[in-house]
């Protein structure tokens, strides 16, 4: 028996055309033009910042920017965690077979996702603010008095709706067979949910969760419109006083760095958690 592989290998080699020489195709020219544009834009921005920067500007605003970032982190962090807690009952409500509970959860989720965060924020901060006497009489005014609390409240309610949808989608994605297998093993409903369904659902939900964190960081800029001095609030304050456009450029750089860093970390985190899936799919 002759080995069929041996004579064939060189034949394929001779059949394969040589790789095309890299020439200046239209696409390549376009690519170089576009890339040069970005490089030029980047360089002119660096030049602009370099020429516009003064130590007086730094002394006056640098610490305020840092404080602003810290406030942004607080708003995003607290809202995301509280929203995650709230999202579990909402997601379960969305999955519930009880029509009333399902409708209520859907209504809540649609109300929050169907209207702008800014409109919600105004409604809570200024709208509820006009009921201060009623709120005072039921002892809730101390909470609504602070803009920071109002922002946390509305951001939590908002992100809970989005997170609930993520969670619901992920749970529905985990095959029905998993529940049936759990049933067959005689596991209780709670054990099936917490130990079988949720862990798998959370893994498929990692990517949308990452997106939600980023959306919250970006959305939190809205807090600046109701007297909260987050990064955007400090930026607006600095701009309204100095009329120096570099304030917006610095803010853009800070937001971008935060979002990009987070996105990369999250990707790594996701790759780490799903490393057992990688090997299978390959």
């Amino acid at each position: 028996m002759s080995n069929p592989d041996l004579p064939l290998t060189p034949a394929i080699d001779t059949l394969r055309p040589p790789p095309p020489a890299r020439r200046w195709s239209k696409a390549r020219i376009l690519g170089v033009v576009l890339l040069s544009f970005w490089i030029a834009a980047g360089l002119s921005m660096i030049y602009y910042l370099f020429s516009a920067f003064t130590w007086a500007f730094y002394d006056r605003y640098a610490m305020k920017f840092v404080n602003g970032i810290w406030v942004t982190f607080q708003i995003v962090g607290i809202s995301l965690v509280l929203g995650a807690l709230l999202s579990i009952p909402v997601a379960l409500g969305r999955l519930s077979k009880n029509k009333l509970i399902g409708a209520m959860a859907f209504g809540y989720s649609y109300l929050m996702r169907g209207t702008p965060l800014l409109a919600q924020t105004y409604l809570v901060y200024y709208g509820l603010g006009s009921f201060h006497q009623e709120l005072q009489s039921i002892g809730l005014w101390w909470f609504f008095r602070e803009a920071f609390n109002c922002v946390i409240l509305i951001f939590t309610l908002n992100t809970a709706a989005y997170q609930a949808e993520i969670l619901r989608g992920a749970i529905e994605n985990v095959s029905k067979h998993q529940t049936e297998a759990g049933d067959a093993l005689g596991l209780s409903k709670m054990v099936i949910f917490w130990k079988i369904i949720l862990p798998q659902a959370l893994i498929t939900a990692l990517r949308p969760y990452g997106n939600e964190i980023i959306l919250m960081i970006k959305g939190s800029a809205i807090a600046s419109l109701v007297t909260v001095f987050d990064l955007m609030g400090e930026t607006r304050r600095a701009y309204s006083r100095s009329f120096d456009f570099q304030t917006y450029v610095w803010a853009a750089i800070m937001y971008l760095s935060v979002v990009e860093t987070l996105r990369r970390l999250w990707n790594r985190f996701e790759a780490y958690l799903t490393r057992h899936l990688e090997r299978d799919s390959d």
């Binding site: 200024y126 603010g129 006009s130 201060h132 005014w141 008095r145 602070e146 803009a147 419109l225 007297t227 607006r236 304050r237 701009y239 309204s240 006083r241 009329f243």
Partner: protein, 261 residues
């Protein structure tokens, strides 16, 4: 022959009249005026969507006097100077104080009124006075990028500041108790405490203005280098002061002379 002559003459007359009209239209300089529309009684928007107030009447009087074709542009207060610089309009007539800080970026006409700042509080307030010591720890609401915000930042360091986009918001928060005191022009606050909405509150006192921070009265903001426009506007202000138009507008809104010393 005579008919032809008549027709020709008629055409010529029409042509001359038309060109004269055109020339006149060209002479009418178009000036876009930026205003806030949220600062009663100086400038505000009514339910019909129309601008009204002292600033608006003064602006119209100046435009009429200087033969400008004016058009109003509504702009949020904290974007007012950037928008002027970005050429979204040519002049700011919005009760903007003439200050050194703003003079670094833009130019001003002469003042067209000058009134001092004041502090308003709730009638049942715990705030005792208007000194920095009295206001220690007090939440003060002011409109952002105003002289009042700068004043509070510089002169009342013990108070804690909250900045609002328009006066209506700090007013709402003073009524609801989110802030304990607000600072603004005495006319603006005085007018407000007389209304139903402001009936909760009173003027605690007027602040002694610091010319370096509060400026030397409200002027019309212009881009630097627009000297023709500035000259024309200054002349128009002088003219309406002289011919009684200013007094007429003044008396429509105020029981005293807002022009100030």
């Amino acid at each position: 022959m005579t008919i032809l002559k008549k027709i020709t003459m008629a055409f010529a007359a029409v042509a001359i009249a038309a060109s004269a009209g055109l020339a006149q239209a060209e002479e009418m300089r178009k000036v876009r005026i930026g205003t806030e529309g949220a600062y009663p009684p100086f400038n505000s928007v009514n339910a019909a969507g129309k601008l009204e107030g002292f600033d608006i009447d003064i602006a119209n009087a100046i435009c009429e006097q200087a033969k400008f074709k004016c058009e109003f542009v509504i702009q949020d207060w904290d974007g007012m100077i950037p928008a002027l610089l970005a050429n979204k309009f040519d002049a700011i007539i919005a009760s903007m104080s003439i200050t050194e800080e703003r003079m670094e970026k833009i130019d001003f006409s002469n003042k067209y009124y000058n009134t001092p700042p004041a502090v308003a509080v709730k009638k049942d307030t715990m705030v005792k006075g208007i000194s920095d010591a009295d206001l220690k720890g007090v939440q003060i609401g002011v409109q952002s990028s105003t002289t009042h915000a700068n004043y509070a930042e510089a002169k009342l360091p013990s108070a804690s500041l909250k900045l609002y986009p328009t006066p209506d918001e700090y007013k709402a928060d003073l009524v609801s108790g989110r802030v304990d005191a607000v600072i603004d022009d005495v006319v603006v606050l005085g007018d407000w405490v007389k209304t139903d909405a402001g009936s909760c509150c009173k003027i605690l006192g007027t602040l002694v203005p610091d010319a370096k921070i509060n400026g030397i009265g409200a002027g019309i903001g212009l881009r630097k280098g627009e000297d023709d426009l500035k000259k024309a506007i200054n002349a128009a202000i002088d003219a309406i002061r002289a011919n009684g138009k200013y007094k007429e507008i003044n008396d429509k809104y105020f029981a005293f002379d807002v022009y100030g010393g």
